[in-house]
């Protein structure tokens, strides 16, 4: 209220002042007309100006900040580990080193992971992570015994990855696979250790 009263007063003073300055003002600018609409109109115009400037500036900034929401920066891509038919005749698990490329913003992290290609009881190809579900050691295939045996605490797994004995809480983890154009693709993921169910670590 107070503010408004002041502006009204100022407006009166202004119009008096403008009476004396009328001639030079008119000569100076046609915009004088626009600016002569009075304090309330001008305040509205100023508010619109401030609003439009901040709107104009904030849209690209918000999109810039929200970029990670739309970018696929951390999603693990599918990696190829060989031709699908290469594995069709396997009778025992085959070790493969796969290259996992992970985008991390403006950089990429390339790492090698060992996996085993094996067959399930149903005869379907399965790809197993070599990480022990107990404490995370790398589990080797021991051909002499026909089992996966973890050297750390003697966890024993069947050729299809099922748990046979030892401290691990579950069998070896199966990775997501798909066959595209005859190539076997694997999506490498890490899983939580020491829990009976398979949980992806984000």
């Amino acid at each position: 209220m107070e503010r408004e009263d002041q502006s009204i007063e100022a407006g009166t003073q202004q119009s008096e002042g403008r009476a004396q300055l009328a001639a030079p003002l008119e000569r100076r600018s046609f915009l004088g007309l626009l600016f002569g609409v009075g304090s309330v109109g001008v305040t509205a115009l100023i508010s619109i100006g401030v609003a439009s400037i901040s709107a104009l500036l904030s849209v690209p900034i918000v999109r810039f900040v929200l970029h990670p929401l739309s970018a696929k920066t951390t999603e693990t891509a599918w990696s190829e580990i060989g031709a699908a038919e290469e594995f069709s005749a396997i009778t025992i698990p085959v070790k493969r080193l796969m290259t996992v490329e992970q985008r991390d913003g403006w950089r990429k992290v390339i790492s090698e992971k060992s996996v085993y290609v094996t067959k399930g009881k149903d005869g379907q190809l399965r790809v197993l992570s070599a990480i022990c579900t107990h404490l995370g050691c790398s589990v080797p295939w021991i051909e002499a015994k026909g089992q996966f045996i973890c050297p750390c605490h003697n966890g024993v797994f069947a050729p299809d990855g099922a748990l046979i004995s030892g401290p691990p809480p579950r069998g070896l983890d199966e990775l997501e696979t798909k066959i595209e154009g005859g190539r076997l693709l694997v999506r490498y993921q890490y899983f939580r250790q020491l829990v009976p169910t398979k949980e992806v670590i984000a």
Partner: protein, 492 residues
């Protein structure tokens, strides 16, 4: 009473009184009303004018630079290894990144343009007169600080032109007698340009200079309010006599219209012609011709005239004279006469200096065009920049991945060791690439702690601590042992 009002009017009244109650609550605690009144009711002798918009315009542009700059820092990394990649990432990948970077990049040019207009207006109107020496000097300091912002910001993208322009820029400092070499080293963080130069420029650009600018903007505005608006050229700068008009609302509106125009022009320009990024700085490139931003072109061309033993005069003495004359203007020109035609000496000197700058700038561009070798090289650099802009963003490979991938290529013995390391299931407990697991220690960096002989010794006969962890004595052939040790030493 309420009954006599229509519902609409009633709710209007209720709304208004609620708003004003909120405002009163806020005002009682902050004193915002008085503060706003003080800020906005600044009297302008002779009334408002479009000629007075440049100061607010500069403040607006500075705030825009601060905002866009802060957000650019979300993705930027100030290191010689990553700076260029991160700026390329902002430019080519991040949503609105190219636009935001363009706003910031072109914003610096806009600051220079409006700054020159502000100085020009102040000079032509004689607004530095009448007890405004400190106000003028604070303005000069801000001028220098903005020049510093432009200089330090230019290096940050770490592309070819950034690198070589800054190499030239820092070389100029070494022309200062006695301390020149020291200043250059300090600016660069060493004898040569490198990642320490980038760190220093980043800190100066983002922390040091902006904080000093904030301080001097406050001083500049305070001194301006203390002296009061000078008004038109016919006005007495100390005791104004013409009828004053308040800054609010019409001058504020004019200032805002100007700011709106500035940001619109900047946005349209940024949208249509996005700021470019050249290929990454290559210090071993001996062909590259550095060219500074347009506003440094006059100085750049001026320096070309002064080589050899006389360079001291051209690089230090003459610029110092110009700067002293410029900063000392309100002390030299002490008369209160403000009409330009009544103070011809000042106006002519100012015009001459200004024209010299324009001429030097024009000559710089003209010389580049006229010299075929230079024109060809600059055209080549342009092409390289355009080519770089066309190629899609290529993420940087993390150094750890590279090290792992390069082992096989670098040392066949180590590569053999890697095979043994995996065949013997060392990686079961020590992890792939020796990264360590809960069952076995990390082996990365073990080569720095132990010599090859020491490694062989502990592998054949593990220490008590190792044995406790489950390490068994290895009974391998010497060749296999050497290969594994070579591999272990390559794990960094």
């Amino acid at each position: 009473m309420n009954q006599s009002l229509t519902t609409q009017e009633g709710s209007k009244l209720a709304n208004r009184s609620r708003t004003s109650r909120v405002f009163e609550w806020f005002d009682e605690r902050t004193g915002i009303n008085k503060l706003l009144g003080k800020a906005l009711d600044e009297p302008i002798p002779g009334g408002v004018r479009f000629a007075y918009i440049f100061g607010s315009g500069l403040l607006f542009l500075f705030i825009s630079q601060v905002i866009t700059g802060v957000f650019l820092a979300i993705y930027y990394v100030p290191s010689a290894d990553h700076a260029h990649t991160t700026v390329a990432y902002i430019t080519k990948e991040v949503t609105a990144g190219s636009f935001l970077r363009s706003l910031h990049s072109y914003g610096s040019s806009a600051v220079v343009v409006v700054l020159l207009l502000h100085v020009l207006q102040t000079f032509v109107y004689g607004s530095y007169k009448g007890r405004r020496e400190l106000l003028w000097i604070a303005g000069c300091v801000l001028f220098a600080l903005m020049a510093g912002m432009a200089f330090t910001g230019y290096l940050l993208p770490w592309d070819q032109k950034a690198y070589f322009a800054t190499a030239v820029g820092t070389n100029i400092a070494s022309e200062v007698p006695l301390v020149g070499e020291g200043i250059k080293r300090l600016m660069r963080g060493g004898a040569d340009m490198g990642t320490l130069t980038l760190s220093r420029f980043f800190v100066a650009h983002v922390f040091l200079i902006p904080s000093v600018i904030f301080f001097f903007v406050a001083i500049h505005i305070y001194l301006f309010r203390k002296a009061g608006a000078a008004g038109p050229i016919s006005e007495d700068p100390i005791a104004p006599k013409q009828k004053a008009e308040s800054f609010y609302p019409r001058q504020l509106l004019m200032d805002l219209v100007f700011s709106l125009l500035l940001i619109t022009a900047l946005s349209v320009f940024s949208w249509l012609v996005p700021a470019e990024l050249g290929p990454k700085a290559n210090p071993s490139d001996t062909q590259f011709l550095p060219r500074p931003e347009w506003y440094y072109r006059p100085m750049f061309h001026w320096l070309k005239f002064w080589q050899g033993s006389q360079s001291f005069i051209g690089i230090i003495v003459i610029p110092t004279i110009v700067i002293v004359l410029f900063v000392g203007l309100p002390f030299i020109d002490r008369k209160l006469e403000r009409r330009p035609w009544k103070r011809p000496v000042g106006v002519i000197v100012f015009a001459l200096v200004f024209l010299s700058f324009v001429t030097l700038g024009v000559l710089s561009y003209r010389d580049d065009r006229r010299n075929p070798a230079v024109a060809a090289q600059i055209a080549k650099q342009r092409k390289e920049t355009e080519e770089f802009m066309r190629t899609p963003f290529e993420p940087e490979t993390a150094s750890s991945s590279l090290a792992a991938a390069n082992i096989a290529l670098a040392d066949p013995l180590a590569a053999q060791g890697k095979t043994i390391f995996e065949a013997q299931s060392c990686n079961s407990c020590h992890g792939d690439g020796g990264i360590g697991t809960p069952a076995g220690a990390k082996l990365i960096g073990v080569g720095a702690k132990m010599s090859p002989d020491q490694l062989i010794t502990v592998l054949r006969q593990p220490t008590a601590k190792m044995a406790e962890g489950g390490m068994t004595p290895l009974k391998w052939k010497d060749d296999d042992m050497k290969a594994v040790v070579a591999y272990l030493r390559s794990l960094k």
